[in-house]
Symmetry: C2
Subunit: 238 residues, 2 copies
């Protein structure tokens, strides 16, 4: 199998959740973001009138004659294809439910620095970003982390992974979100992680998986930065 991942260049972004699944699966893929003409190629694909299932926005994945958009839907597909989710209905749905809760958290992270509009610079909504980030740090990070801690604690197969005894795409996504929050809100994240030892252990376990470890050390992995979802603006942390 060979895939093409379409996502904006120069940021990990939501494309990273897909990359981590592809890397853990050990499959070959073309990362369009690394092509010098990436922007033009993505725009052209979004405009292509012959596509019956047009994606709304990147990321989207081309897999044979399929084109699949929405991060969690791409992962639903990859989970089935590459054993990154249970086959049984209940576990399969649970993995997707976890993923959508992670997606809700990611959307809230994005809104910390863009509470008013995607079309305005951070500097033009900084006052609002300060207010939104305060509530995000104080209420939302602890609430989400507390829930993940509970999920790990209640896993009948032990707290290493979110679902059963094997890695799933939701584990990879949670790993990335915690990494992103450590980058963007180091003080608030450290404080919250103090109360969630299983979550700390979970993230460490994912980082040590051979394919993930190799990926993180490779040039395929992009660094967090201030054009991304997870932005380190010190004034928003605390």
């Amino acid at each position: 199998v060979s895939y093409q991942l379409f996502y904006w260049p120069d940021i990990p972004g939501r494309g990273e959740f897909v990359r981590l699944a592809l890397e853990e699966a050990g499959v070959s893929y073309r990362d369009v973001a690394r092509d010098p003409d990436a922007m033009a190629e993505i725009e052209a694909k979004l405009e292509e009138e012959s596509i019956a299932h047009p994606p709304f926005a990147p990321p989207f994945l081309i897999a044979g004659n399929k084109i699949i958009g929405q991060t969690a839907t791409i992962l639903l597909f990859l989970g089935d294809e590459h054993n990154l989710a249970p086959k049984a209905v209940a576990g399969r749905l649970w993995t997707q439910q976890l993923q959508l809760t992670i997606a809700d958290l990611v959307a809230e992270v994005h809104d910390t620095h863009h509470p008013i509009s995607l079309d305005r610079y951070y500097e033009d909504q900084k006052r609002e970003a300060l207010l939104r980030s305060e509530s995000f740090r104080k209420q939302r990070i602890p609430k989400f982390f507390g829930w993940f801690e509970t999920v790990l604690k209640r896993n009948p197969k032990g707290p290493t992974y979110l679902v059963g005894a094997s890695i799933s795409y939701a584990d990879l996504s949670l790993f990335h979100v915690v990494g992103g929050l450590r980058y963007a809100f180091p003080t608030a994240t450290k404080r919250a992680l103090h109360n969630t030892p299983h979550l700390v252990g979970h993230v460490d376990a994912v980082a040590k998986r051979p394919r993930i470890k190799a990926y993180l050390a490779s040039e395929r992995r992009q660094a967090f930065n201030e054009d991304d979802i997870f932005r380190h603006y010190p004034e928003l942390d605390g």
Copy 2:
């Protein structure tokens, strides 16, 4: 089959996307929101320590020994169980992809009146809400509606439904979102729908389906109101 839907009382909310699927499927369900002790029952279920797959928040559905959270995951399940999505992989993923794009739109609607924090009243974030709504009305409604229009236009089976020639859970959700936007932002929504005739036809077709029509006329259907996701604050429209 008998289901129990857990969702907050007194608002259609995200529970409504699940209700519409249950109604179209013609299955019996208990709507916990209509119970006088709904709040206590929901809180108790969220706290229940024996649940291995605890939901993060309502809505969640109890189906036999399963408990399923996240609106789109509940619909993924109901789609398979009640023929509200294609059985083939490509169509099944496409339906979920549409649903997640609808979910993104719903989250943006919510943020128009709560751009800063869930924990503060609208009145305390009204200035920010005015700014956020302007960008939502001018950029986001036309962008989402334009995409749904394109999806309907490109459906090889014709523009009546989003996926193939039959109704899916995504059609029911889109129907509700357009209804909610007509309620909350009547002027901006009317303007945007002027350019999307297939979307107007789609919403009309869903409203005329016998089970949906009967549901909308019943006491089971709740009215839109200003505690809901879709709120009519005239100052935010225009």
